[in-house]
């Protein structure tokens, strides 16, 4: 894992000290709110529906145990004993008071963390495949490049006042678990014909008000050219982006309005201009970063205990079959810890749970933790022989829910329970759906099904790429939930299709239940997933169960 050098260390401490002085000047009245607001946003501090909220970056979703313990300490000391994992690999604290925030930033700096550029019209926290460095299908660990991008984009003088926020996601695997096609820049590692690893560069993706799937601007970019090429993209966007209209300011609109071809031409021209200035220093830095991401020393041991427990214990078997993923090292597994217990708030972990996960990462996981954009925590490197003991420890901390990738593993944004922008609540809807399908004891039978819920059009809950997407709106002063079907956040990304009129807060759970029960009737076999059934049959059969009265009217 990357460890801060003296420069990083001094930089985050200096920023925390600057912010402390800014908060003091705000409290004594020498800064107005208009002056202070951009300063607090640069440091991840929002004012939300009930309180301030501090958003802390977890770059490319990677944490070590001491960082996780510090997050727990911050939750206990300055918040209400929990934190919320977000869909952009951040953690949010929902209840800080203004005067404590500088202390929180100091506490983060102690463990090489910060809240810089988690807000504002800057390049935000760079996100990555949460299985990076562990996945069996990976070409190369994408995190060294992600760290290079973090260093490059942090306080980049040209990119502190972009037309709008800018999000980069990166994956080292052909199977895209980082939703790269829904990002301003998506980087997907591929091999050239000669077998050399490089990137497919995707530009102009995004969800929100105008959802768009990103377009490939370069089929293959050698790794050595990555930084100047990204700089060229952001630079062209910085000039062309619509600063006159907030709703048209994201790069997806810039690419759409100018056309991919024209945009690409400008990028190439800019690239040609700046490429000579990149004399290889970036590659030296990358090489040093890569050395820090060397894989742990995997042990060669029998995994007999695992097989025996798998046979003997049905609860363990269910968990293992659902929450484990294939690891590249023999005898190892990737463990996803579900932060989606039925009825709990998606993505919320208590300080106790954070400490347990830190301890388990130390004991069984080569000291590494990951946070997924799906709001779960991952132990990327666990030897199979340790899984029974790990499972037992997770159970004791209420962290052994066996539902990864199933209907109750729901992404939900904070919605109107916390967010000042929300138009409706998300969390209670997620809670109801998870509890209901747990009661029905159907979720393992249903199989892979991703429900994603956003509490407003900005789509932090990624509803557009949910197999079932739910969007909470305010319709004439009442919460109303619009449903989309068939969305897909993988390398084959698709924006979901609206079913029709929305549903009230009382009607939405029965509506979801009708969709899912219809799927169980319609599928050709238990192997056909919800998404496959939807692709085969289209919207009509689902509309028929969602809006039976319309069908009756038409008859």
């Amino acid at each position: 894992m990357y460890v801060y050098n003296d420069f990083d260390e001094a930089f985050v401490r200096e920023r925390a000290a600057q912010f402390r002085a800014q908060v003091e000047r705000r409290i004594d009245g020498s800064l107005t709110e208009d002056e202070f607001r951009p300063l607090r946003l640069m440091n991840g501090l929002y004012l939300q529906l009930h309180a301030y909220m501090l958003r802390v970056a977890i770059p490319y979703g990677t944490l070590n145990p001491s960082q996780m313990r510090q997050l727990a300490y911050i939750a206990d000391r300055w918040d209400k004993g929990y934190g919320h994992w977000t869909t952009r690999q951040n953690i949010q604290y929902n209840w800080p008071v203004l005067k404590d925030v500088p202390d929180m930033l100091d506490a983060l700096a102690e463990v090489g963390m910060h809240a810089i550029q988690t807000s504002g019209n800057t390049i935000r926290n760079v996100t990555a495949d949460h299985f990076a460095g562990a996945a069996a299908d990976e070409i190369e660990d994408p995190r060294p490049v992600a760290e290079l991008l973090r260093q490059w984009s942090t306080d980049h003088p040209e990119f502190q006042f972009l037309p709008r926020k800018f999000k980069i996601a990166i994956t080292g695997s052909p199977n895209d678990r980082a939703v790269t096609k829904a990002h301003d820049i998506g980087l997907r590692m591929v091999r050239s014909d000669a077998g050399e690893p490089g990137f497919e560069v995707i530009v102009g993706g995004g969800l929100g008000r105008t959802p768009m799937i990103g377009k490939v601007i370069r089929d293959f970019l050698p790794k050595a050219d990555l930084l100047p090429y990204c700089e060229a993209i952001v630079s062209v966007y910085n000039v062309l982006g619509r600063r006159d209209n907030k709703y048209k300011a994201r790069i997806k609109i810039t690419v759409f309005e100018n056309g991919l071809e024209n945009f690409a031409e400008l990028v190439e021209a800019r690239y040609a201009e700046i490429r000579p200035a990149f004399t290889g220093v970036d590659l030296d830095i990358l090489k040093a970063i890569e050395a820090q991401f060397a894989p742990p020393s995997f042990r060669d041991a029998p995994s007999a205990g695992y097989e025996a427990a798998h046979l003997a214990n049905p609860a363990f078997r269910s968990w293992a079959d659902t929450n484990l993923a294939a690891h590249k090292a023999e005898g190892y597994a990737i463990v996803s810890i579900s932060i989606k217990k039925h009825g709990a708030t998606p993505g919320d972990a208590t300080s106790h749970q954070m400490r347990v996960m830190a301890d388990l990462a130390e004991k069984y996981g080569h000291g590494e933790l990951r946070l997924s954009h799906e709001q779960n925590v991952i132990l990327p490197h666990v030897h199979k022989s340790d899984l029974p003991a790990l499972y037992q420890a997770l159970r004791e901390a209420d962290l052994a829910t066996a539902n990864i990738g199933l209907i109750s593993d729901i992404i939900a944004c904070p919605g109107m329970d916390y967010c000042a922008l929300a138009t409706a609540r998300s969390i209670p809807i997620a809670q109801e759906i998870a509890v209901r399908f747990d009661e029905l004891k159907l979720e393992h039978e249903i199989g892979p099904l991703k429900i994603k819920i956003s509490g407003c059009i900005n789509a932090c809950g990624h509803h557009h790429v949910g197999h079932i997407g739910i969007l909470g709106l305010d319709r004439a002063g009442v919460e109303n939930y619009q449903v989309t079907l068939g969305g897909d956040g993988t390398e084959e990304a698709v924006i979901g299709e609206k079913t029709g009129p929305g549903f009230s807060a009382e009607e939405i759970l029965p509506a979801i239940e009708r969709i899912v029960l219809a799927y169980l009737d319609l599928r050709t076999s238990p192997e056909e997933t919800f998404l496959e059934t939807f692709r085969r049959l289209g919207m009509e059969p689902f509309k028929a169960v969602l809006y039976p009265e319309e069908k009756a009217d038409a008859a």
């Binding site: 004012l47 800080p96 109107m416 329970d417 609540r425 209670p428 809670q431 002063g477």
Partner: protein, 99 residues
């Protein structure tokens, strides 16, 4: 033709705590919306809003919201404002336990 004025209260967040407060008739900021001044007159609403906006080192994000007369004082009309008087629905945090 302008729309008929509906009763309002002035609300904001406290600068230091960040929590929601409502402006009372005697110029205090109360954490309890029921103590707020219910404003029936449009011109008076403007005056109260200007007064509130002047309290730059006490509150931030000042705005007017629709309200109605309830049993104990003004009550919210819109669900968002109702949530602001209570706190989140997933935990017993915020005003629902602090007031």
């Amino acid at each position: 033709m302008s729309r008929a004025f509906t009763p309002k209260v002035v609300t904001a967040n406290r600068l230091l705590e960040g929590d929601n407060v409502w402006l009372t008739e005697d110029d205090r900021w109360s954490p309890d919306m029921a103590e707020a001044e219910l404003i029936a007159d449009e011109a008076h609403a403007t005056i109260r809003l200007l007064f509130a906006q002047g309290q730059r080192n006490t509150v931030v994000g000042v705005y007017l919201i629709d309200a109605k007369e309830g049993r104990n004082g003004p009550e919210p009309v819109h669900f968002r404002e109702a949530f602001r008087t209570r706190g989140p629905s997933n935990y017993a945090h915020g005003k629902q336990v602090e007031l």
